[in-house]
Symmetry: C2
Subunit: 256 residues, 2 copies
Amino acid sequence: MEKLTLVKVGGKIVEENDSLQTLLNDFMMLDGYKVLVHGGGRSATKIATRLGIESKMIDGRRVTDEDMLNVVTMVYGGLVNKKIVAALQARGVNAVGLTGADMNIIQSVKRPVKEIDYGFVGDVEKVNAQLLSLLIQQGIVPVLAPLTHDGQGNMLNTNADTIAGETAKALSSFFDVTLIYCFEKKGVLMDENQEDSVIETINRPDYEKYVAQKVIQGGMIPKIENAFQALNAGVSKVIITEASQVLKGGGTSIVL
Amino acid sequence: MEKLTLVKVGGKIVEENDSLQTLLNDFMMLDGYKVLVHGGGRSATKIATRLGIESKMIDGRRVTDEDMLNVVTMVYGGLVNKKIVAALQARGVNAVGLTGADMNIIQSVKRPVKEIDYGFVGDVEKVNAQLLSLLIQQGIVPVLAPLTHDGQGNMLNTNADTIAGETAKALSSFFDVTLIYCFEKKGVLMDENQEDSVIETINRPDYEKYVAQKVIQGGMIPKIENAFQALNAGVSKVIITEASQVLKGGGTSIVL
């Protein structure tokens, strides 16, 4: 199968013009087929504030009421997504900006209300990768916004890491997929105070050892759990790194 | 060639939920391949006002400064477009929401400044209909927002009538295209005070006669000129009518 790289970048990188341009310069140079998944939370919060809409967060997760759903639909699907698409087109990369509603790529179910009502938030149910693959094989580079739909006419706010992971899994039926999660450090660090203490490779036994030693903790745990899930579902390689390292091939490789 | 219907609807219809749902019920029932082009000016003005951004209009045309470009990119490309796409998906219509930047479908040039500087407004230069046709032949229904790009990284605000006309022309190399312009009346009226005095067919000599008689005047003149241009460029049929008439086949047919 031909190689495909799926890069997930958070809001911070795509929302500041300098870091966005640097990222896209690197992304442009990546060989083979590619997909970009982006966030945009900071812009959504900023626009919401200007519109007089309060951003409610519970444990770092956004509560998406109807007003906020409109904001994230505008900001993720319009402002951030199209800025990236236009910037890629300027680099000769034939990008297409998509949400999960477009071509029914990602259908979700509104998260059931347990203790907390997150509102219009989608838990991914199904990724339809066939048409997406067809586009990719035509040389098109999909740029995915963190939005899905419920098949009943509603857009749903959806975690960008989840979109990246689920899309990578679905595309692994068609391509040899490398999934790169960008975050604010060069990789998983052996010592959080030493920027260069990047662990090169983590397999399942390593992971369990590092968790026991509290080398790996907090938000990194679900990230790595997702990585193992993706690998189990057919993704060839998962890398966790800083956006600036994507082209250099740095970071931490998660392997089975 | 197989039949394709391209329907252009203005902002008013897609921005009010009742009229949007009615439109989409009719649009869903249209036979054959189809494309929807939408506006969204009222929503853009509303959001801009809430953001404290002034909407400047000259002779009914929007002046698009950088702030307003961000607003129309959000509102047309995100809010309005994705609402339509999700609503079509709920009806089993496999829609994809696109701007001109996506897959480089429509490249424009920023309108040259003469007496008036309209800002980030695009005059369409080139429609690339090949990938769009491929998608359509796969059963996908494109929903086009009134935005294009300049190939240098900038989105440009672009008249929805122009997008509809230029896209219809480009698609006429691949399909037998009917272009339907929806506006607030049932068709071109013989007597503007009589809602039912719709002129069924207008050819070039009729048009010239009606202009001389002032039956046709004002904003209808560029609409019909565009229609003739589209017909000359290979579009099979142009119809001017009310959104509610699209499925019924009413309205005024412009013919060569």
